[in-house]
């Protein structure tokens, strides 16, 4: 059903090349080149859903012991620094939009017709009531800078272990990044505390073909310390480098515009 995208091919070649150099330069510590490879892999994963630019429609389901909420939204992005998300349903929340530029975030609330900059105090708060925090959305890009990476592999999977550097400001003691070798897609991201206990899990599943790429269409964020809480994001549509996505979308002006 799926054929590997051209990206995948080149990566296969690259990987093959790297493996050779590793074997050849066996004097070098495996960790060093592993780390480089790890960085590459991470970068690739992060770019997976973005490309140079992308647009998507998705469904987000938030489950808690108290309620279950389903939202539909459309999102656009350029790289990992700029993204624009708009809620389409439910009716009550239709038109609520979030603009992210680098490390800053703004929300537009149509009912009160206001753009609110997300203050630092709300950054650790959840995004739209989900198990993702505002911080998550903003911080994805810095994983490779602020963590030390080691690479482990099995036949099927890469496991990249990220340990925060001394000065890195994060609540996590360790993060695992599990990648499927065959399709070069993420399988899971596990977040641990300092004692090695898993606190949060992000699982990727249900590969689908989106504009020629094989990408997991279902993401599940599961907090392990909160019973019955879960957030599921399902990509209904995902387009890469679509023509309608240009810089003008990622402005406050656009955030405010009538929808």
């Amino acid at each position: 059903m799926e054929s590997l995208a051209s990206n995948g091919h080149s990566h296969h070649q690259l990987k093959a090349g790297l493996t050779c150099s590793v074997l050849f330069l066996c004097l070098f510590s495996i960790q060093v080149s592993g780390a480089e490879r790890a960085i590459e892999i991470i970068d690739e994963m992060e770019a997976l859903y973005q490309g140079a630019s992308s647009s998507a429609t998705m469904t987000m389901i938030v489950e808690t012991p108290q309620f279950e909420r389903t939202m539909e939204m459309e999102a656009s992005s350029i790289g990992t620094e700029k993204s624009f998300i708009r809620i389409l349903s439910p009716r009550k929340d239709r038109g609520i939009a979030t603009l992210k530029l680098d490390m800053e975030m703004w929300n537009f609330l149509p009912k009160i017709n206001r753009v609110i900059k997300v203050p630092p105090s709300m950054m650790m708060g959840s995004w739209m009531g989900s198990d993702f925090t505002n911080d998550d959305l903003v911080k994805q890009t810095t994983l490779t800078d602020e963590y030390s990476l080691t690479l482990e592999e099995t036949d099927e999977q890469y496991a990249i272990i990220l340990v925060p550097k001394e000065e890195t400001v994060t609540v996590w003691g360790k993060i695992d990044y599990i990648v499927n070798k065959e399709y070069m897609v993420p399988v899971a991201q596990n977040f641990y505390d300092d004692n090695g206990e898993i606190i949060r899990k992000l699982e990727f599943s249900e590969l689908r073909d989106f504009s020629g790429r094989m990408i997991p269409s279902r993401l599940e964020m599961i907090p392990m310390n909160k019973e019955g809480n879960k957030t599921i994001i399902i990509y209904d549509e995902l387009k890469f480098d679509p023509p309608e996505v240009d810089e003008s979308i990622f402005t406050l002006r656009n955030l405010r515009s009538r929808f």
Partner: protein, 406 residues
């Protein structure tokens, strides 16, 4: 009984002495009741100030909302609960509330705010919210002609947001269903002043808050006012038994820090009361001893003409007891209206106290059974106790010695 008649007659025969003794005891009684009234009064005043402000005497929440407030810990069927509470005799009134932390925005500024949704009608009889309105009016729960709900905001918020009566207020928070709660309200009332504890609070009509937070029909807190504050703990346990799936707490638990300091205060008070009672005792001792021992000569004569010692002792005791009772009755007659005035009107304070928007201008006392009964019992008891050994001693003395003494 002859003795009784004798005792009675003796009292009135020795008018001057009896009067002096009686005045002394009556005076002691009046002062004692006054102190009790003052002590009880100040203690209770402080409590009612506090509990009437917003705490109430008993509060009901879901689970451990009180210690760990979370928006989803709600009382889901407040109507049924209200019915139960309305039917209970000891409950004077109750009100329903909803809480959420949020951010308030005006055209120009924003500030964190505590959002409280209240049942405006019920709140009138359960707390002093209405009296705290410093400008504008106590809002109603209806939508205005443009479809907006009214809000009352603390003076601190009005100041930091630079908004006033008639202006639009925007509130943002998180709903019980996880959605972003956001809406516009019209400021129609300002609460307290910039130092009030409520200065950064926004009060909304209950329905408005429930809508805002997507928690239709649910509330976080039920605050109850009892007819008698003293029943707080017992009523709380009774209610807790009946309402198995909710948490009921008396105000002593809800406001434990305040309660602790009140307890400390009470200690100091009790000590003072103890001292006063002791002094009253000494006064009675003084009085009784003097009046009985003065008459040693008289008793000597009685013995000389044949009265039996026991009879004499008995008569002394009876006389003293009777005199004491008459004295306190006299005291009661004066004390009743005095304490009545003190409770109703009280002393005017040099400077009226402003406690978070409520003004206390007088220091009043308390009128209760104990205030009158305890001093009465104490004085009569003291008098009797003192008179017994004294009487016995007086009765035993030899007539010749007695007649020689002063």
């Amino acid at each position: 009984m002859l003795l009784l008649k004798l005792a009675f007659r003796n009292i009135f025969r020795q008018r001057r002495r009896s009067l002096l003794t009686a005045i002394s005891m009556a005076g002691g009684y009046i002062l004692c009741t006054f102190s009790f009234s003052l002590s009880e009064g100040s203690y209770n005043n402080a409590i009612s100030f506090f509990t009437l402000d917003h705490t109430g005497h008993v509060q009901i929440h879901k689970e451990d909302y009180l210690q760990r407030p979370k928006i989803h810990k709600t009382i889901d069927d407040p109507e049924q609960l209200s019915e139960i509470l309305d039917s209970r005799e000891d409950i004077a009134a109750h009100t329903l509330r909803v809480f959420a932390p949020g951010i308030a925005y005006s055209d120009t500024d924003n500030s964190p705010a505590q959002i409280i949704g209240v049942d405006l009608e019920r709140e009138r009889t359960t707390s002093t919210l209405e009296q705290k309105v410093s400008s504008g009016s106590y809002i109603g729960s209806d939508l205005d002609s443009d479809g907006y709900y009214s809000a009352m905001i603390g003076a601190g918020l009005a100041n930091s947001l630079n908004i006033g009566l008639g202006d639009e207020l925007i509130l943002i928070s998180q709903g019980a269903d996880g959605s972003v709660a956001n809406d516009i309200y019209i400021v129609n009332g300002i609460i307290g002043n910039r130092d009030s504890p409520d200065r950064n609070t926004v009060f909304l009509p209950l329905v408005a808050a429930q809508e805002f937070l997507s928690m239709y029909g649910r509330v976080h807190e039920v605050s109850i006012l009892l007819n008698d504050e003293g029943d707080s703990r017992s009523e709380a346990s009774l209610l807790q038994e009946e309402l198995q799936d909710l948490s009921v707490a008396p105000w002593q638990v809800v406001e434990s820090t305040f309660y602790q300091s009140m307890q400390t205060d009470k200690q100091g008070n009790n000590f003072s009361m103890g001292v006063i009672v002791f002094l009253v005792f000494v006064g009675v001792l003084n009085t009784v001893l003097m009046s009985v021992l003065e008459r040693t000569r008289e008793f000597g004569v009685l013995k000389a003409i044949g009265s039996r010692p026991t009879k004499i002792a008995l008569m002394i005791t009876l006389e003293t007891g009777l005199l004491a009772s008459l004295s306190v009755l006299m005291g009661l007659l004066i004390s009743l209206p005095l304490i009545g005035w003190f409770t109703a009107v009280g002393f005017e304070l040099a400077q009226p106290m402003d406690v978070g928007g409520i003004v206390m201008s007088h220091m009043t006392g308390e009128m209760s059974f104990y205030v009158f009964a305890i001093p009465l019992a104490l004085i009569v008891l003291f008098a009797l106790l003192i008179s017994i050994p004294t009487g016995i001693r007086a009765a035993r003395i030899s007539p010749t010695e007695a007649m020689r003494s002063t």
